[in-house]
Symmetry: C2
Subunit: 196 residues, 2 copies
């Protein structure tokens, strides 16, 4: 008996999280409230507040959920990646695309709002640590990088810092062509470091 109700509740939660990411990416933090997201998700305000008592809860949970889901999808693709430089290129371009998309735009709104909002900051700092750790772990695995070799850990981190920089460069204008070109060069520099 409990099972279908749990399923419904999980589906509602899921709709709210997806709508929260869309909302944040489109209208920014100022216009993003639990009510606006509930309406967008077709969920009653009461039900939304049952799942997420505060605005901070809803939006940090949304970024965490969608990021974890995205990283899991990338992890599922790992067995089919080619070897060698082609692998490094694929991984670097895939990460670049990920940070150029809607999820990063939404996260960026949350991060930047948190810079001048202490209660939000208290929730975003641990979320940033979680996302950073998981993205790093997956990148190491995807590249088949041996972090015990000199410079490798730093080069993997640089890949993610670079992707964040590209995400920012893609915020107001379409930067895809330049990004692809620079990341191709970066992949060859990174590959030489992984291999040396």
């Amino acid at each position: 008996m409990g099972e279908p109700r749990q399923d419904r509740s999980r589906a509602t939660r899921r709709r709210l999280l997806d709508a929260a990411v869309d909302c944040l990416a489109e209208v920014g933090w100022t216009g993003s409230t639990v009510s606006v997201v509930a309406e967008r998700a077709g969920v009653s305000r009461g039900a939304a507040q049952h799942h997420f008592p505060t605005r901070e809860d809803l939006f940090t949970a949304a970024i965490e959920h969608v990021t974890d889901e995205r990283l899991a999808a990338m992890r599922a693709e790992l067995p089919s990646l080619p070897p060698g430089l082609a692998r490094t290129e694929h991984v670097v371009q895939t990460i670049g695309e990920m940070y150029a998309g809607k999820l990063f735009r939404a996260a960026l709104q949350l991060w930047v709002a948190a810079a001048s909002d202490e209660p939000l900051r208290a929730k975003v700092v641990p979320l940033e640590a979680h996302v950073g750790r998981e993205a790093h772990r997956l990148t190491v695995e995807a590249l088949g990088a041996d972090e015990s070799r000199p410079g490798v850990r730093e080069a993997v981190q640089a890949t993610l810092d670079l992707a964040r920089g590209f995400g920012l460069a893609n915020l107001l204008t379409d930067d895809a062509k330049r990004r692809h070109r620079v990341l191709t060069e970066w992949a060859s520099m990174l590959h030489a470091t992984l291999d040396r």
Copy 2:
């Protein structure tokens, strides 16, 4: 007779621009208005509005002015830079510091607000192009990079994208130690590319 009045006007303008960057970095776009900045700068609201008719004018002018000033200060240091890898390291770390500071925090607030504010976006896009072009030009000069050699232009661009990524990573927590470590590795990878 006109000279001192012009000087005063220029000093007022300058105080407004500096206060605008401080304000944007501290309280974000939502709390940053011409009135708030005028008060912070000790300038009457009327005088502020004489210099900057709109909020968009004031804050885009502020980011442009302070960036140009910062780049000019970096340019003035170029003759005293050491040669070789030490130069590449110095340039890379200096750019990293620049993007980790108050000016970048202020610019980030403006960029992110522009993502969901069309009139602001129309002003920020040309400003972003100007800042990007000037920062690139100075970096090429500082590194003594020959952009006609394969991969060099992309590696210089990657340096600035990386710096932007570090700026973001430094927004909510102090990331200085990690940044320094990764940029040291980046400098050696970049130097090999400039030199190859």
